[in-house]
Symmetry: C2
Subunit: 157 residues, 2 copies
Amino acid sequence: MAETRWLDDAEQRAWRGYLRMNTVLGAALSRQLQVDSTLSLPDFEVLVHLTDVEDERLRVSELARVMRWEKSRLSHQVTRMERRGLVAREECLSDGRGAFVVLTGAGRDAIEAAAPAHVDAVRRLFFDAITADDVDALAGISQRVIARVEANDVCPS
Amino acid sequence: MAETRWLDDAEQRAWRGYLRMNTVLGAALSRQLQVDSTLSLPDFEVLVHLTDVEDERLRVSELARVMRWEKSRLSHQVTRMERRGLVAREECLSDGRGAFVVLTGAGRDAIEAAAPAHVDAVRRLFFDAITADDVDALAGISQRVIARVEANDVCPS
């Protein structure tokens, strides 16, 4: 392996800042959902992915891939959500490619009820702290890093 | 509650991009550590926090607070690392404020062995994809968001 190119001071500051922001912001938003809604952050994330797609349904394997979760972990998550009526599993016998997870009416109600306070927290803790230029910079950074990771990835989304 | 200020298109793009970048980059770096080292991403994170402090030791409660983990989850993580010799627990009988987690020689060896390939991956997947201006922008964004979250937080780090 070639000699390691260690991070310089500016990179170190950016990388540590990025990791720290993820940690504190993720924890704060997770706590906000716990306090203000009936959903956990993973529940919320699953429901967002389902509301994003045309039929409000995704295969378990597809959802695991998009969320970058181990399939077994995602399957447990879906089972817990199914018990609470937030999603339903639909077997797809015809093609053998595994079950679908489908948004239910209760799931839609739950995410619609949780969304306003969640967006308020995202705005208060994140967008109100940064400038419009920062918003554009972050969108660009994210886009470039995602493209880079996916180009290096054996299982791109 | 006042009317929700939903995210506009630019904010939506930045927020979704940020979340997606976290997901794909976190998964890629986690996999990289699995392949190239004996450490998981949480192992690595615990060791980084210990190498960062003067005595290479932190109270379990302090480590949980800094990492924003539930104390019980962190305690299980530390127990697993202790069994592998990466850290040691030292009871502190004098003050009743709970045990310390201490970096061991094996822990230091493990993180030193893991660091070069991890930094290479961070550079390849992240820094090589963005510009020097992006690096400064991200450092600034992170700093402002962390300050905002911690000002709103009941348990700032």
